[in-house]
């Protein structure tokens, strides 16, 4: 494996949620920075799933176990309870069937860690209100007709889905663009207005 690189702040927040020595699957793992970190710092048995073939090649070339595949199609192949944590960071909004993917995650794993860009952020609300056009920000930077983010949701939407499908939110937080923790933890409404990203640790009821 190559020398450890500096990790994105949101990945550091995710890593902090993972217990040492656990079995982890990182969906949309990119080049495997988090996997490498979890192996080196937490002695986890961590692997990845990544949709982009070139990225997979680079990850494997770094010595990280990664399989080419995608969340919608490939989770079904894993057995129940194969992992302690399955991670889906900044990808939920881009999958075909988010609800099904979440269900699969909590079938194959005890915990699911999910992060997503929050469509309820005030800048997005304001842009839509003032311009009447689909908002464009750093997180939402592609035009509506070419964005891969086909299933945007807000932090409150996500809470609602967890209630509906009876997932227990063990931990949650809102983060800013860089992924640093933001202070609106006690109020979902404020987090939904000011948090650029939502980060959730879930388990089945």
């Amino acid at each position: 494996m190559s020398a450890p690189k500096k990790m994105r702040v949101d990945l550091a927040l995710i890593a902090a949620m993972v217990a040492p020595g656990s079995r982890v699957l990182d969906i949309g793992c990119s080049e495997g920075t988090l996997i490498e970190h979890l192996f080196r710092e937490k002695k986890c048995d961590a692997r990845g799933l990544e949709i982009d073939m070139q990225t997979v090649t680079r990850a494997i070339g770094h010595g990280v176990p990664v399989m080419q595949g995608d969340a919608d199609a490939d989770l079904a192949a894993y057995p129940d309870g194969a992992f302690d944590y399955v991670i889906l960071s900044r990808t939920l909004q881009a999958v075909e069937k988010p609800r099904e993917v979440l269900a699969q995650m909590l079938r194959i794993s005890t915990h699911a860690i999910v992060s997503f860009p929050n469509f309820g952020h005030w800048t997005l609300r304001l842009q839509l209100l003032l311009t009447g056009r689909m908002p464009m920000t750093a997180n939402w930077s592609r035009m509506w007709y070419e964005t891969p983010n086909i299933h945007p949701c807000t932090i409150r939407d996500f809470f609602a889905l967890c209630d509906q499908d009876r997932y227990i939110v063990e931990e949650w937080l809102a983060a800013d663009e860089e992924g640093a923790r933001t202070p609106w933890r006690r109020s979902r409404a404020l987090a939904n207005l000011f948090g650029e990203q939502g980060l959730f640790l879930l388990r089945k009821a």
Binding site: M1, R23, D45, R47, M53, Q54, V56, T57, R58, I60, G61, H62, G63, V64, P65, V66, M67, Q68, G69, D74, A77, Y78, P79, A82, F83
Partner: protein, 380 residues
Amino acid sequence: MDQSTAQSETQHQSVTFPQGLALDCGRHLREVTVAYRSYGTLNAAKSNAILICHALTGDQYVAETNPETGRPGWWERVVGPGRPVDTSKYFVICANVLGGCMGSTGPRSPHEDDPRRPWGTDFPPVTIHDMVRAQKLLVEHLGIARLFAVVGGSMGGMQTLSWATQFPGMVFAAVPVAAAYYHSAQNIAFHEIGRQAIAADPFFYGGRYWAEGVTPERGLAVARMTAHITYVSEVALTRKFGRKLQDAAELSSLGDRFEVESYLQYQGSSFVRRFDANSYLTITRAMDLFDLAADYGGVLANAFKGTKTRFLLVSFSSDWLFPTAQSRTIARALNHVAANVSFVEVQSDKGHDAFLLEEPDFHRSLGGFLSGCAEHAGLK
């Protein structure tokens, strides 16, 4: 010309096992010889050994000049100092397969009932699993209790899968490249054309060509030509030859020959100088018989139940002989048992042969995977 005499003059490094080998067909070979080559140094803990498994017409000369053809080793791009399979770090072994014609027991070896003549067509049918059991004898003979890795392409990938399922405890990491877990009807069909071409050669003599002092060169060449087409992609053939003519700028008579024709004929004729027809029949049959799922009640995942082996599966996008779908199915079966599996399809237009050629993405993946595994295995 008697090729078999000329070929058998080369002395191959080998070990003979007097205990013989029990075969899947129920027969027992009274003794079995395994010819092999090794590169690099086995460490004191004997924990850095990598076994390379060769393809249908490959041999043990993986990383050095082949003594019979004078050509470079067939995988020198992959195996050697500083290469993805780094012989300055790992002890690399490659054995000629059971049934082969480069020193291991095969149809050209002395018949066990009458050593004055070769086995010929009396040689019992062997399977990929049998080949692996013969390799296991060698590995144990070398004092190696566990292989750090088994790596192989095409039929070598089948052997790699066989290793990982027959002897999972002996394989820390497995890399089946451009491989398949069963030989498809299409693959069998192409093999059958080759076998029929050999059988139709008047010099075949029902497999007793050795007694007549001849070889079925025409048939063997046609078999090789057919097979060769399956190893390359349409794009690669077009790029290399298109509709170019051999000795003319444009088609002037219907007798003109296309370049691709003479290329194939060259492939065929260079092959007959180094390969035994009965070995070709034996080994193609072994590949056809391979069906790992069938060995485990029709469920491929069962073959890997409880495996601790780390896998890397590599396929090539233009390989239509062992297509990506095969590798992906193996990867999913490994997911099914929550095995540690990496899988990548390398973008290449070179077809099945890509695994032997210059493919930087493949080489980087293989090298990185092995270094990652070395770290997990605690190899320095």
